[in-house]
Amino acid sequence: MVLEFQKPRPIWQIMFSTHHTDIGLLYLISSLAFLFLGGSLALAIRAELFFPNIEGTGQIIADSMTFNRIFTVHGTTLIFLFIIPFASAVGNYFVPIMVRYKDMAYPKLNAIAFWMIPPAAVLVWLGFADFTWYAQPPYSIISAPGPAADMWIFGLKILGISSVLGAINFVVTILKCKHPDMSIGQVPLLAWSFLVTSCIIIVAIPTFAAALLMLLTDRLGISGFFNPAMGGDPIAYSHLFWFTFHPEVYVLVLPAIGMMYEIIPRFSRKPIYSYNSGIFAFVLLAIVAFSSWAHHMFATGMSFTEKTVFMVGTLAAVPASAMHVFNFIATMWNGRIKFATPMMWAVGGIALFFAAGAGGVVNSAMPLDFSTHDSYWVVGHFHLFVMGTIAFASIGFVYYMFPYVTGRMYNETAGKAHFVLSFVGTVLVFFTQHVLGLFGMPRRVFDYPPIPEWIAMNQIASVGAMIIGTSMVIFLINMIYSSAKGELANIEDPFGLGGKYYYPFEAKNPHH
């Protein structure tokens, strides 16, 4: 794989390059940096919640304001500064190669889209707002202090624009710039996942951009969209927000599924069970994604009919996700599987994806949601998606990309150790949090009453979080050390899979 054009290039040339591999690399490095930063915030949260604050003991963070800011920035960072840029990294690096084109359709726009991320990240991190990553009014209008809140709004505005620019690039590259001999039905599923994801972004993000602008003018007092004292309705924001962010969770997950579609057939040494099902499931999921947003709002006082409509919309998305799971398992069935590190991550990701989805079905069943809404069940549920599925697939893909990008191999033992610890830790934290939610613990709490069951489960979760933290340290060291001094990789076949079955565009899969 071509990594470089010229011999040692100065760093500034790489930074301001518009070539897709360079930009992919910049996205990759920055997104992994934010993975670690956001993850550290999570460790702070779990450390604080290890003990309830009885008589002043067990309190590590100074006050609840700081805690609220920590979990706000934790969520914002990991979603907007890790998951989405990481998907951009993978897409930028591989999509042009997969469609056999020399670069993305708009290379300069691509660079601009990346460079919007650092200033936005600075705005979010310096301000450290406290109103959760939802920024729900009226709290975010009348109660959240500035300039942190306003900086967050501006930061997210910029990130939204960056996403849309990237999405436009992907759609044009895949549809218009693919090799003339390649039909759309031959484009690899990873590229398809980016195509579909980009379409969702283009439709969904503008709604949130509007909502952010309205939030800002409400804060300035010039408008009263969401402020009841000025005649507005806070639930309007909820609708706008979730209309974007329910499809957005599919924006987060589809690239990860696409990454699994790269890893699983390779390491099973078998072609994908059904390429067509994969495409169908992607497209169906993208469409159905827009029909379920208000399942986040079941407790706001919606009418019975509204709730029913959104419950049906939510359940309708399940078969599409299930198709992917079937596809993965059927691909692995009877394959000669090599359980190298990327494959372990992908398979672990599938298992946790299934668990996350199962928990989600509980949430979508209306009366059951009144038990789980805004409790730790929800925290466990969505973390099984973002950590258990998306982060697992992403990290697995980092290991998969590693030899291609750096020309060296990472340490396989450390990679496997990273997986085992992360998997154990993830299960410990997030499965436990489902139960904790059933016991009633609300989310976004700095402290909790000393109920013995709650204490026990919080402690289990915190231990799990520390295990994940340890594994991430191993990951960091492995990545840095191996990229500088790792064993040279056999670029033809770094994982020893045999056959010429590793370059996406050279796959000799007879089914393609």
């Binding site: 609840s64 304001m65 609220n68 406290d130 109103f131 959760t132 729900q136 009014p137 009226p138 709290y139 009348i142 109660s143 039905g185 009841p228 004292a229 309705d233 806070p234 639930i235 069970y273 059904s274 390429y275 067509n276 099902s277 407790a299 706001t300 006082g301 019975f304 709730k307 029913t308 419950m311 049906v312 359940l315 309708a316 399940v318 078969p319 299930a322 198709m323 079937f326 059927a330 079905v361 979508s364 069943a365 209306m366 009366p367 059951l368 009144f370 038990s371 809404h373 805004d374 409790s375 009633g440 609300p442 989310r443 976004r444 709490v445 700095f446 402290d447 909790y448 009453p449 089914h511």
Partner: protein, 143 residues
């Protein structure tokens, strides 16, 4: 384009769809029953504000942070908020409804046993959201 048989996939999808349909139907039915407020339920006005709960009974009695109700009677909560969105939650009785400023939301319940239960806020509302708690006292009927 694939040369393999795919009846397993079709069966799998059919099973998943059937399962979802069943979940949806059961949920629809349960919610329909849950939302029907019984006749003669006593109205309690719940006011949420940062960061405590106040209650007002039909006869004008006001309580702050605590709510005394009688076993075996149905109560309908009319929930409102004075500032930001809160959420009124008695977890043990699965009472959960947002307190949204600018509207009144209703939810009902009928306590079945004497006891004490926690009232908590289930929507982030700022500094003391974690401590926006109260106690529900379910008592024997006085008369």
């Amino acid at each position: 384009m694939s040369g393999h048989s795919n009846w397993p996939e079709w069966i799998y999808i059919a099973v998943v769809v059937a399962l979802m349909a069943w979940v949806g139907a059961e949920a629809w039915n349960a919610e329909r029953l849950v939302e029907h407020v019984p006749e003669g339920a006593e109205v309690i006005k719940v006011t949420a504000q940062q960061w405590f709960w106040t209650f007002e009974h039909e006869d004008g009695t006001k309580e702050i942070g605590e709510l005394h109700v009688e076993v075996g009677k149905a109560y309908k909560f009319e929930i409102e908020s004075k500032d930001v969105i809160h959420s009124f939650n008695i977890h043990d009785y699965v009472v959960l409804m947002d307190a949204v400023p600018g509207r009144v939301n209703t939810v009902w319940f009928a306590p079945t046993d004497v006891g004490e239960h926690a009232i908590q806020c289930r929507e982030y509302c700022g500094l003391l959201h974690y401590n926006m708690r109260g106690t529900l006292y379910v008592e024997e009927p006085s008369s």
